[in-house]
Amino acid sequence: MVGVFILLAVPLKLPMGVAIALSALVGALAGGQGFALRHLVEGAFGFFDIILIIAAAMIFMKVLQESGILDSLVAALLKAFYRNKVLLLLAVMLLVMFPGMITGSSLAAVLSTGPLVAPVLMKLGLARLKTAAFVAMGAILGMIAPPVNILVMIMGSGVDMPYVGLTLPLLIIVVPLAVVIALGLGLKDLKIVSADEIKTLLPESVAERYGLRLYLPLLLVLALMILQNLNVPLIRDLGLPAIFFIGSLSGLFCGRRFDFLKATQKAVEEAMPILSILAGVGMFIQVMTLTGARGWAVTTFLSLPPALLYAGIGVSLPLFGGVSAYGSASVLGVPFLLALINKNALITSSALSAIVGIGDLMPPAAMAARFSAQVVGERSFFKVLRYCLVPAILLLAMGLGVLWLAPLLDKIM
C-alpha cells in the first residue's frame, strides 16, 4: 500500500488525497477483500468531524481576513507589545497555545489565533518560515497543555484512567518547552522598533470605524469554546464546526462588508486538498485494519525488547500521528501505556501525549505544519518543517525523558 502510494504521489503526481485513497483500494484488492466499498466509505467517515472542523475553521479565517478584523487585531497587538520582545514572544506563544489548551486540537489553535499572531511576528522581523514554525509548535504545545488534552483522554479511556490529576505532569512538560521554543525561535530575529517606526509597520486598521464590535467574532468563538467545556446547556452540544460557523456569521456584521458566499467558496477550495487527504487516510487505516496490517504493526512495535521500547515509542507514535494524532493515541498509545503499566499512568500518558503531538508535523497529514504554512502564505509545508526540527527534537526528548524519569517524578510529585 505504501509503495503504491509513493508511486501515485511522486512520479505520477496525483493529488495526495487521491493517491492515498487509491492505495487503500489497491490494499483491499491485494488483501483479498475485493472492492471493499463499505470499508472505504466507513473509513473515510472516520475523520468526518475533523473534516467539518477544518472546513468551518477555514471559513472563519477567511471571514477575519475579508472583514478587516485580522488587520485591525494585528495592529492592536503590535501597538501593545512592540517594546519588549521577550514579553511579546511569551504573550504570543500563550495566545497561540490558548485555543489548543481549551479544545485539545492543534488545528483549532493554528486556524484561530495563528492568523492573528503570524503577521505580528513577521512585521517585527521574524522570518516567514520561522513564524510558521512558531505557530505550529505553539499549537502542538497548546494541544498537549492542560486543561484539555484529548490525547490523554483517549489513552485514559483505553485503560479506565479518569482525566484527573494531569495538570501538573502536563505543565512540567509544556511550560519549559513553551518558553525555550518561543525564545529560541524568535529572540534573535525579532527587532525592537521605535514608536515612529511601528506606525509604518501597522496594517490598515478599521478599529476606529467599527469599535469594539470588531473583536466580537474572535471573542465569540473563544467564549463558545470555553462555555462548551463548562457543560453549559445548548452550547455544550454545539461542537467546533458550529462554533466556527457562528463566529463566521457574526463577522458579517462586525467589520468591512464582503461577499460571504465567495469567501466561503474560496476557503473550502483552499481546504480541499487536506480534506481529501483526511478522507483518504481514513480509508487507508480501515484497509490496514481489514488486512491485518494494523495488528501486525502494533504487535511489531510491542515486540521490541525493553531497551528498544523507548525507541519504538519515539518513532512509531509520531509516524502514526502523521496519519492522525488521535488515531495514534488510540491505536498505539494505549498498548504502550499498558506496556509501561508499572509506572505512574498519569505521568506516562502525559509524556506519550507529548510524543504523539509531534505527529501533527509529520506527513502525509502534517496538520499543524500544513496549516501554519498556509497562515504565512507558504505553499510547501516541508519548508516549515526545517524550522520545526529542533523544537520537535526537544519535544521528543522531553517526552522520552519524562517517560524514563517517571518513577523519580512520581516520588517528587
Partner: protein, 343 residues
C-alpha cells in the same frame, strides 16, 4: 444492520416490555430497547442483567439472549435488557473493519447476530462535544458522550445515550432491583479482564461468587470499582440507585488493538496469531494460545459467573434470593456450543 436481531423468548417469559415503558421519553427513539421479565411464583429478590452496553462485545449480548430463550424463574424476578445500547447495534466503528454480523448454527438453522459499535450511532446523536462532561461531572474525550457505560446515572433531558442510562436507572427504581449485573468483554491487552468488577457494597457478593467459580475451575479476578471513575454502571448503580452492582469482563480478541484480520472466525473462534505472539511476549493479561478464546467459552464464563453471583446472593441475603431453572450450564455450552441453547 438495520434489521433487528431475532430473539425468541422461552415459554416462561412473564412480560415483554420496552425501556420506554419505564422512561416514556425514549418511545419511538433509537434508544428504546426490549426488556424481558421473568418472575417466579415465590417472592424473592429482583435482579437486572444487562447485555449489549457495548455492542462490539458479543459475549454479553449472546449470553443475555441465551437467558431469554431458556430460563424459568422459580423465586424472585429477573429482568433482562439484551441490547442496552440499541443504537450502537446499528453501525460499526469506523477504521475497525469489523464484520457487521456473525452466524451461530442452531438446530433450527443458522441465526445471525449483529456486531455493532462501542458507542451510539452518530446518526442518532451528533455532533460529539470537544470534551464530554458526563452527568457526574467527570471530564472525558468527546466520543465518550456516546458511550452508555460513561453516561450513568443519565439525564432525563440529556443526549440520547444519557436518556438511555436514565431509562435504565428508572427501570432499576420501578422494578425494585436489588442487584444489577452488566455483561461486558475486554481486549486481552486490557488489565481488567476475566474479572468481576464490584461496587464496594457488593464486595462480599463478588468474593463469595469468586470462591464458587474457583471450585468449578473458573479463574476470575476481583476488581473494586474505582470511586473516582464516574459514570460507569458498577459505580452509579451502587452510588445513586443504592443497589448491589457487578460488572463481568471476558477476553475478546476481536475488539482489541492487536488483532489481525477482523473476521467472523475471529469473533466466534477467537484465534489470532498476533495475540498469540503478544501473549508469548508477556503483553497480555490473559493466557492466549493457538486455540484462542472462542465465543462459546466466553459465554460459558458469563453463565458460570451469573450462576455464582445468584448463588452468592442467596447465601448472603436469603430474603433477596433469586432462583432460576434451565440456566444453560457453562460446561455444556463449552462442549455443545451456543447454538445448542438457542431456539
Amino acid at each position: 444492520m438495520r434489521e433487528a436481531d431475532a430473539i425468541h423468548p422461552g415459554p416462561a417469559l412473564t412480560a415483554a416490555r420496552s425501556l420506554s415503558d419505564y422512561f416514556p421519553s425514549l418511545k419511538g427513539t433509537p434508544g428504546d430497547t426490549p426488556v424481558y421479565v421473568y418472575a417466579g411464583a415465590t417472592e424473592g429478590g429482583n435482579v437486572l442483567i444487562i447485555g449489549g452496553t457495548h455492542p462490539n462485545e458479543p459475549a454479553g449480548f449472546v449470553t443475555s439472549v441465551m437467558l431469554i430463550e431458556n430460563i424459568r424463574a422459580v423465586r424472585g424476578k429477573i429482568v433482562i435488557v439484551p441490547q442496552a445500547n440499541a443504537s450502537g447495534f446499528t453501525h460499526s466503528d469506523p477504521q475497525e473493519g469489523s464484520p457487521q454480523r456473525f452466524p451461530i448454527a442452531t438446530a433450527a438453522g443458522q441465526r445471525w447476530f449483529r456486531l455493532g459499535s462501542r458507542v451510539t450511532n452518530p446518526i442518532h446523536q451528533w455532533p460529539d462535544p470537544t470534551i464530554y462532561v458526563n452527568p457526574t461531572g467527570q471530564t472525558l474525550a468527546g466520543i465518550e458522550a456516546r458511550n452508555l457505560n460513561r453516561a450513568y446515572p443519565g439525564k432525563a433531558g440529556g443526549n440520547l445515550t444519557e436518556k438511555v442510562a436514565f431509562g435504565i436507572m428508572e427501570l432499576i427504581k420501578k422494578e425494585r432491583i436489588d442487584l444489577g449485573i452488566d455483561l461486558h468483554e475486554s481486549a486481552p491487552e486490557y488489565p481488567v479482564i476475566n474479572a468481576i468488577v464490584f461496587h464496594e457494597n457488593s464486595a462480599d457478593l463478588a468474593a463469595t461468587a469468586q470462591m464458587e467459580l474457583q471450585a468449578e475451575g473458573f479463574e476470575f479476578r476481583l476488581e473494586a470499582s474505582p470511586p473516582n471513575l464516574r459514570g460507569l454502571s458498577h459505580r452509579e448503580w451502587g452510588d445513586v440507585a443504592g443497589i448491589r452492582a457487578i460488572l463481568m469482563e471476558t477476553p475478546n480478541a476481536s475488539h482489541g488493538r492487536l488483532k489481525g484480520k477482523p473476521s467472523v472466525e475471529l469473533i466466534i473462534d477467537g484465534k489470532d496469531k498476533f495475540y498469540e505472539k503478544a501473549a508469548r511476549l508477556g503483553r497480555l493479561f490473559v493466557p492466549f494460545g493457538p486455540d484462542g478464546i472462542p465465543l462459546k467459552n466466553r459465554v460459558a464464563r458469563h453463565l458460570a459467573g451469573l450462576k455464582a453471583v445468584l448463588s452468592g446472593l442467596k447465601e448472603l441475603d436469603p430474603g433477596k434470593a433469586v432462583e432460576v431453572e434451565d440456566l444453560p450450564p457453562a460446561d455444556r455450552v463449552r462442549v455443545e456450543g451456543i447454538g445448542a441453547f438457542l431456539r
